[in-house]
């Protein structure tokens, strides 16, 4: 996630110098995430008008759509970090890729879950084999594959490289999968059940959705930085700076 000054790029790509920077940034991103979530949720429930066709149930969209967007964005960012990690052997990039994966999988699951709850009142069923739902489900499988491959390999270096390669293979395949599923869907049942509200959506709804998206985004950055700090400590535990840091913290607590 951004915020790397171009001058300080090399400096902060070392886990040792990134660790304290991440620590300083985390409260800011948490703050932004909380403020945006509160504002976004208030607008979702009280400001955005009731939809004339779907009634109140459409409000789940303010969670559903941002979650779906984030699920795709995170996979893309993860693959970019994997490329950086493999091509330039930047350890921190590998760590970022593994730190992003659980959040990505969580948002994918959230998008599917809220989609099911939205589908029941709108389409009368929790699940349809719609192109978007199906490709989101496949995206979840890709995330799970990434996470399982990583946790199945004991050597963290090898785990990072192997899962990074898998993320790259996955990101090349995603458009092919999406396009295949769309074609399969149109051949089988026609585009009868896709929610076509995007073009005629009221601007207040769009604003709310964007606020929620930014809230999720800030949350992703905050939680990823927290997770990457843990990963740094775990993978660099043999280095002197981690040992000093840990012994300092222990001393501080006493």
């Amino acid at each position: 996630m951004g915020l790397k000054d171009s001058i300080a790029w090399y400096y902060f790509s070392a886990p040792k110098s990134f660790y304290p920077l991440a620590g300083k940034l985390i409260p800011w991103f948490w703050g932004l995430a909380i403020v945006l979530t509160v504002v976004g949720l208030y607008m979702s429930f009280f400001v955005a008008p009731t939809d004339y066709k779907q009634g109140e149930s459409y409000r789940i969209m303010f969670i559903h759509v941002p979650a779906a967007w984030m699920s795709m964005l995170i996979y893309l960012v993860m693959a970019i970090y994997a490329i950086i990690g493999l091509a330039w052997k930047v350890r921190l990039a590998d760590m970022m890729a593994s730190a992003l994966a659980p959040t990505g999988a969580m948002f994918t699951f959230l998008a599917l879950w809220t989609g099911a709850f939205w589908g029941k009142p709108t389409w009368g069923t929790y699940w349809v084999w719609d192109a978007r739902l199906t490709s989101e489900l496949i995206l979840l499988f890709l995330y799970i594959g990434f996470i399982s491959l990583q946790s199945a390999i004991d050597d963290p270096r090898r785990a990072a490289k192997a899962s990074g390669l898998l993320a790259i293979v996955g990101v090349i395949n995603l458009p092919i999968i999406y396009f295949s599923v769309t074609w399969w869907n149109t051949l089988h049942q026609g585009a009868s059940v896709s929610p076509t509200m995007a073009p005629k959506m009221a601007s207040i709804m769009l604003t709310t959705m964007l606020i929620m998206t930014f809230a999720f985004w800030m949350y992703t950055i905050a939680i990823t930085l927290m997770r990457v700090r843990r990963i740094i400590l775990e993978r660099e535990r043999q280095t002197t700076w981690v040992m000093e840091l840990v012994s300092d913290e222990k001393g501080g607590r006493k």
Binding site: L142, S148, A152, D154, L166, G170, N173, I177, S180, W183
Partner: protein, 231 residues
């Protein structure tokens, strides 16, 4: 002159890789037959589980045979590199002066000849069991002929990634099956389109395109994955 020598060397190495893998497979025929019988058994379970009605079976036949083919391919992926990894010959292959990705094409071809081609040849029998007509069976064979090499190619990458990993056999299916989805969609789609009288050429062209893309890209990914696994 030197280029001639190296090219000859590459082809010889490629061929010996292919012959070696085929010989090894022929010495362990039971392994090969196991995944074939698996294919037959999985397909035979569907009439028992779904319905013996020919009309129903005819509708699901292409999908059932294709899914069974995916699973049967999956089953044989573990063999692709595991033995070579165990006895150290894989490391020797990585040390060869030839491009690894090209040599791997020989290995993948051997895998396909042993585990993909038999599925293609068996499919008419299973198609008839499930009540498919002559034209549909022909189409099914063509789609399998185009599609199963893609399964072997993508599967090789998955097998290389999970080489020597605990629980690799199950893990490889988790990694590879989502990537098989496009082949499955267009493989069954072609047969369905043919049966319902729509054009199936588009599906076949796309399967061919997948094969070309897989031929060009997956050996590189597999080679990279092998180097990661062995280092």
């Amino acid at each position: 002159m030197t280029t001639d020598v190296t090219q000859g060397g590459l082809f010889a190495a490629w061929r010996s890789m292919l012959v070696r893998d085929l010989t090894l497979a022929m010495r362990r025929r039971a392994d090969v037959l196991t995944s074939l019988f698996f294919f037959v058994i999985v397909v035979s379970l569907f009439p028992l589980g779904v319905s013996p009605e020919m009309a129903v079976l005819r509708g699901i036949a292409p999908g059932v045979i294709w899914v069974a083919a995916l699973l049967a391919t999956m089953l044989s992926l573990g063999r692709m590199f595991a033995d070579d990894h165990q006895d150290g010959s894989l490391e020797q292959m990585l040390l060869l002066p030839h491009p690894l990705s090209l040599l791997l094409l020989g290995k993948v071809l051997a895998h396909w000849l042993v585990s993909g081609l038999p599925l293609v040849l068996l499919s008419p029998l299973l198609g008839m069991q499930l009540g498919l007509g002559g034209e549909a069976i022909g189409l099914l064979m063509v789609t399998l002929l185009l599609g199963t090499p893609v399964l072997s190619l993508i599967g090789a990458t998955g097998a290389a990634l999970t080489l020597g990993v605990r629980g690799g056999g199950v893990l490889v299916s988790l990694l590879v099956l989502p990537l098989y989805i496009p082949v499955l969609i267009f493989g069954t789609g072609a047969v369905d389109a043919g049966v319902s009288g729509m054009g199936y050429e588009g599906h076949l062209s796309l399967l061919g395109a997948f094969l070309v893309i897989a031929l060009l890209t997956t050996p590189l990914a597999t080679a990279a994955a092998l180097r990661i696994s062995v280092e």
